[in-house]
Amino acid sequence: MLSVKVAWRNLWRNRRRTLLTAGAVGFAVLLVQLGMSFQAGSYEPMVEVSTRFASGHLQIQHVDYKDDPRTERFVSNTTELRSHLLDLPGINAVSNRTESFGLVNKDERSYGALVVGVDPQIDPSASHFSDQVTQGTYFDSPNSAIIGSALARNLRVSVGDEIVILSTDVDGSVAFIAPSVSGIFETGNDALDRSLVQVPRSLINDALMLEDSAHRVVIMIDQPMLPEQSSEVITPLVPSTASLLDWRELMPEISQSIRLDKISNGIVYGTLTVIVVLSIANTFVMTMFERTREFGTLRAVGMHNRSIFGMFITETILMWMLGVAIGYLLSTCALLPLINIGIGMDSMGMDQFAGLLFLPDRIYPAVDLKVVLVAPISIGVGMVLSTMLASIRLYRLSLVDALRYRE
């Protein structure tokens, strides 16, 4: 109690210095918090957008399919598997997809494309394609197809036209389907728009003699950022010839760029923290010099070293709390309006790449425990260490010298 009072007054005795130090803490807390909340807010939507265009959150596929996708590497009895999966907790949607590389022909023209068989009633729960159809409609009959916009242009195909898709079935013999184009989608991602065709799974499975099999059993879960949890529940259901992969394995470029981003930002935050802590340490050392005689006096009237150190630490903590409060206040002011409206990709000039990089339209800063605590705690630890460093000298100094000390 006593030391809190003395500590508090000591802070106010040197108001300017206290405020500058607290200001430095606040500055660092603000910057790190802003940065981290936008990071935290961007990863999940980025994963969400990219998984909905491509991999899904988790997939069950044949053990060798990922390294070398071949038609005969499928997972069978997928309708039954799907219903079992849907009974599990934390699972949102399951969609079975068949995949085959095919030659898409219209009249004399032909282009290669990835042909994906989906269940038209089910797949929209796991992907965004149904929303991206800009002409025509998402499947209107069991013998229809939707096709990427660039591919449609290159093939000179419009809605209603029939296309012929050649591919190879499980036995390696040529198979073909001739659906009519019910819709044309435009995702903004050039690779998808140029080389993807979707058809009903029943259509392609018949042609490829795949029955109820699929190459990818795509699973959407409640907690995409924590796929391990769902993996554990799902694993018992995975057939012996198949394996369960999460989006980090399916889209290493996304998870790697997230990790790279985290690391490089970590370096930035670390450097910032070190600079701020060094500034503060410097201030503390100055303060301790000025207080040498006070220290001597306190010892002379009978205060224990421990209590004096307690007082110094109390001062540090009070100053830290003040700084963190300033930082919180500022970052709340900055984040509160943004948390609801977010920042549009267009305002950063990023909208043109949104499709290419699988970016969401807007990023909303997300505040979680980590965002709130990382900066204050690391700076706090730095400040306590600085206090120790700055006061070591006092404890080394003989009492007589401390009492005689002239500034």
């Binding site: 500058l20 290159n154 790697q256 600079i275 410097n282």
Partner: protein
């Protein structure tokens, strides 16, 4: 001159008198300056790499297509190559070379598998300007522009489950937009740094391909300069010579990489601002303390008739000296780190992510003199600005009060 010597002398002595605290501040400055320069050098290194790899990977500095080719890359969107006109168009530019190519999508069938890829008709003698000349090859390379065999990437070869020397069949559209199946023998297998390149590019002789597709046209010309960056004038000169074609620079060819490249310029200054902002607090704190504890002394100086301007100069001089020492150490430290990282940081654990951003998995730092100068100039300005307020306080006090202090 004398005054300056006096001021400098007093400042240095005062700094030395408080060497312990000043040394911590110098460490903080060193850290900040060193941190900024090292980080900037990483960012610049990344930028340079982006540009280099884009330019090498078939874009060149300047690329020409027929209009509409980019939306519909096919033989129908070709143009007739006039080598003399191309040579004329680059006259006077620091050209390393140029190459005309045919790049069209194709479906590749081996005995067992079918894949999609880009089929590129090249003149091997002209590809010294691109990554093609650096490929590690198994088997042979293409002999000449009329060589009708193909060069396939290692990853694609594995996916197709075929072998060197075997035949593959490519389906593509000919000059009239009619599907054509053509058999090719695999003459060589290449290893490239990027796996996606290995999977998606198949090379053959350009003239041979023209014959197979009944065409006399090419789809692109790529010009590579000797300098790292193409100047706007260079670009305009070429564009003027080919008004009927789409003439693009590397930024237009690779908008994502270009965007990242340009964002980085901004990041460098934001980062500088943040770091120096953090430094201001410590600097001002130290300087004010240094002034306050010497108020008595300053009072004395003024009592004996020293001009207040000299006192201000002294405080500013101290601050600048501290900053210069910190800058010197910071710059030296960052150059050491630069030398240490010179061979590059291994980012192969992030290979795919790094590739997505157009970088290579060896990140090499690059120090740009201009950046270092900006850092130095801004931080010295900061030192002057940050010391001004404390200095003013020192002289605002009347000498008697100061003496009693």
């Amino acid at each position: 001159m004398n005054t300056f010597r006096l001021v400098l002398n007093l400042s240095l002595r005062n700094l030395w008198r408080q060497r312990r605290r000043n040394s911590i501040l110098v460490v903080a400055i060193t850290f900040a300056i060193g941190g900024v320069i090292v980080l900037n050098s990483m960012i610049r290194g990344m930028q340079v790499q982006m540009v280099d790899s884009v330019v090498e990977n078939l874009s060149g500095h300047i690329k020409m297509h027929a209009p509409n080719y980019r939306d519909d890359p096919s033989m129908e969107r070709g143009f007739v190559l006039d080598p003399i006109r191309v040579d004329e168009s680059v006259e006077g530019l620091p050209v390393l070379g140029w190459a005309a190519r045919i790049t069209i999508p194709a479906v590749i069938m081996s005995e067992r598998e079918t894949r999609g890829a880009s089929l590129i008709g090249i003149d091997p003698d002209r590809e010294l300007i691109s990554v093609v000349s650096n490929f590690k090859l198994e088997g042979e390379g293409l002999e000449s522009t009329s060589d009708s065999r193909v060069l396939v990437g290692r990853s694609l070869l594995e996916e197709l489950r075929t072998k060197l020397g075997r035949r593959i069949v490519l389906t593509t559209l000919d000059a009239d937009g009619i599907s054509k199946e053509i058999g090719f023998r695999i003459v060589g297998v290449y290893d490239a740094e990027s796996e996606s390149m290995e999977k998606s590019l198949v090379f053959t002789g350009r003239t041979a391909l023209q014959e197979l597709l009944n065409s006399s046209e090419v789809t692109e010309v790529s010009i590579r300069l000797k300098t790292r960056y193409a100047k706007q004038e260079d670009f305009d000169q070429v564009r003027k010579s080919f008004p009927e074609l789409d003439v693009l620079d590397w930024q237009q060819v690779n908008p994502i990489v270009a965007f990242m490249y340009n964002t980085v310029n901004l990041v460098i200054y934001i980062w500088l601002g943040i770091v120096l902002g953090a430094l201001v607090f410590g600097l001002v704190n130290t300087l004010i303390t240094a002034v306050l504890e010497r108020i008595h002394e300053f009072g004395l100086f003024r009592a004996v008739g020293m001009r207040s301007r000299i006192i201000v100069a002294q405080v500013i001089c101290e601050s600048v000296c501290l900053m210069i020492l910190g800058i010197a150490l910071g710059v030296a430290g960052s150059f050491l780190i630069y030398a240490w990282l010179y061979d590059g940081i291994d980012l192969s654990a992030f290979a795919e992510g790094v590739e997505m951003m157009g970088m290579s998995s060896q990140m090499k730092p690059a120090i740009v003199a201009h950046d270092v100068l900006v850092v130095v100039a801004v931080s010295i300005t900061l030192a002057v600005v940050a010391s001004f307020y404390p200095a003013r306080r020192a002289v605002r006090m009347n000498p008697l009060d100061a003496l009693r202090h």
